[in-house]
């Protein structure tokens, strides 16, 4: 389980996170939602120790993040994390060289799934294909937790559908996923848990399935209600 406990974060004088707490379980898809600048990406960066926090604690399966944690949790940011001059194949080789959890068979499967070619250069890829490569590099790791920052941002509808298909496949099964997105409609039916952020705090945390079944409302309905207040 990923436990985020009362984390605070300041950028200069601006306090972006004012005590954010939530948990994300293995086998569940947790969606962090909030308007731009609310600190969604900062939360993901903080979980991965890519930005320091002022106070609070983040635990992954009860332990603070360390070098070994990167074999069981990975982050897929909205920009590709490989060098533009590398080919997809070289990027895969880089991951294989450094990560024990790299699963080459799954990487090949994802390559076919996304219809990508190993010899293609990262710099020559379209935005949609860049997002797919990013996803491939994260999903091909045998990790327990996946963090995804805006995986649908700025890409065409067909690529979005293809990426959304990943969430229903065995590629994500049994893993804990934390995702931030604006394109909630694409994955609304897949989300298990929703964490709504506003002005640096969690304003609502709810089980999406429960809301759908007991209240007959969608995630978007709840969002509208909360953010219109």
């Amino acid at each position: 389980m990923i436990e985020v406990k009362e984390i605070t974060k300041r950028f200069g004088l601006k306090k972006v996170l004012k005590g954010v707490s939530f948990t994300a379980n293995k086998g569940e898809i947790t969606c962090l939602i909030g308007i731009n600048g609310v600190g969604k990406t900062t939360v993901l960066n903080a979980i991965m120790n890519l930005t320091p926090i002022q106070s609070g604690e983040i635990l992954i399966d009860g332990e603070k993040i360390s070098k070994n944690s990167y074999e069981k949790i990975t982050f897929i940011p909205d920009a590709i994390t490989m060098l533009p001059q590398m080919t997809i194949g070289e990027s895969m080789q880089f991951m294989k060289d450094f990560y024990k959890s790299w699963n080459q068979a799954r990487a090949k499967e994802l390559l076919d799934f996304f219809k990508l070619k190993e010899e293609e250069k990262i710099s020559s890829l379209s935005k949609g294909n860049t997002a797919k490569v990013n996803l491939l590099l994260g999903l091909a790791l045998d990790v327990d937790y996946l963090l995804m920052d805006e995986p649908f941002s700025g890409i065409d509808i067909f690529s979005r559908e293809q990426i959304a298909d990943v969430f229903t496949s065995h590629l994500v099964e049994d893993r804990g996923v934390i995702i931030t997105t604006h394109e909630i409609n694409d994955i609304e039916h897949l989300i298990d848990k929703v964490v709504l952020l506003d002005e640096g705090i969690v304003i609502k945390e709810f089980n999406a399935e429960e809301v759908r079944e007991t209240e007959g409302r969608s995630v978007v309905d709840v969002m509208r209600e909360v953010y219109k207040r």
């Binding site: 991965m48 890519l50 070098k67 074999e71 994390t81 490989m82 880089f94």
Partner: protein, 277 residues
């Protein structure tokens, strides 16, 4: 350890194209320098002896014999050395900043590698150090080749052949780059490595604290500089001429090691606790 080696290899690979171009420029420019210098000398010799009917002895008295000394003082020779030095100096900064800037934020990947983050720091420093040593090795290999080219072009009566060591000694900048004793190597390359590490840590201050970090980085670099020269300052101003040269050398080495250790420790701390993407 393996990850560190892989990172060094990766960092070297990233700079390889530019590095090979630098080596190519050095080889071409310096050999061209030998040819141009030798040709110009031979033209003067031919003119003085054939047109002005100067005897060889008189010519040699007037112009001196040709040697590698005539080449090392030309822009053809030290120009590419300066170019390599400036490129590597810029690269000390660029090696970090290129991971942050641009569309592809490679720093995410580097910081998320399942290895101690200090390995990234040490791998970058090692890569720079290897590149410097590689260029020096090329220069050392080039000097005898240039000597051979000179021998092919200039007749024995008009030239004097210098050994590699004599060429190095005859040109002070080469002497700095290619030390002839181990203690010299320790001093020259130790100071170089220390400067690179201090620069790296200063860059990390900037990357961690941005605008505030520039000031912190500059202050840190100044403190490191004074810490390093503190034995010299003490011997000059606090206890004038109190220490023997040997003692001063040992104290300088200790100060150097302390500065290097502090730079690495601070870099380690910043990468683990304060870095932001």
């Amino acid at each position: 350890m393996m990850n560190y080696v892989k990172l060094v290899n990766f960092e070297l690979g990233r700079f390889m194209k530019i590095y090979l171009v630098l080596i190519g420029i050095t080889v071409v420019s310096q050999i061209a320098g030998v040819m141009v210098s030798a040709n110009s000398y031979l033209n003067i010799a031919s003119e003085e002896m054939n047109v002005n009917s100067l005897s060889m002895d008189a010519f040699l008295q007037m112009y001196g014999v040709f040697s590698m000394n005539n080449v090392t003082r030309t822009l053809w020779f030290f120009g590419p050395i300066a170019l390599c030095a400036v490129t590597l100096l810029i690269y000390v900064l660029f090696i970090w900043y290129r991971d942050w800037f641009g569309k592809n934020t490679f720093i995410y990947r580097l910081l998320m590698l399942p290895t101690e983050r200090i390995n990234i720091y040490l791998a970058k420093a090692t890569a720079i150090f290897f590149m410097v040593l590689g260029l020096i090795a090329c220069q050392l290999a080039l000097i005898p080749i240039e000597g051979k080219v000179m021998q092919w072009m200039v007749p024995l009566d008009l030239r004097i052949d210098l050994t590699t060591l004599e060429v190095i000694h005859s040109f002070e900048y080469l002497g700095i780059m290619i030390p002839t004793t181990f203690s010299q190597f320790l001093v020259h390359y130790g100071i170089g490595l220390m400067a690179v590490l201090v620069m790296f840590t200063a860059v990390l201050f900037e990357r961690c604290f941005r605008m505030k970090g520039i000031i912190l980085g500059v202050v840190y670099a100044v403190i490191s500089f004074f810490a390093f020269i503190s034995p010299l300052l003490i011997n000059e101003f606090v206890f004038p001429m109190f220490l023997y040269p040997g003692e001063l050398f040992i104290l300088e080495c200790v100060a150097g090691f302390i500065v290097i250790a502090c730079a690495i420790w601070t870099g380690h701390y910043l990468l683990n606790r304060k870095i932001r993407v």
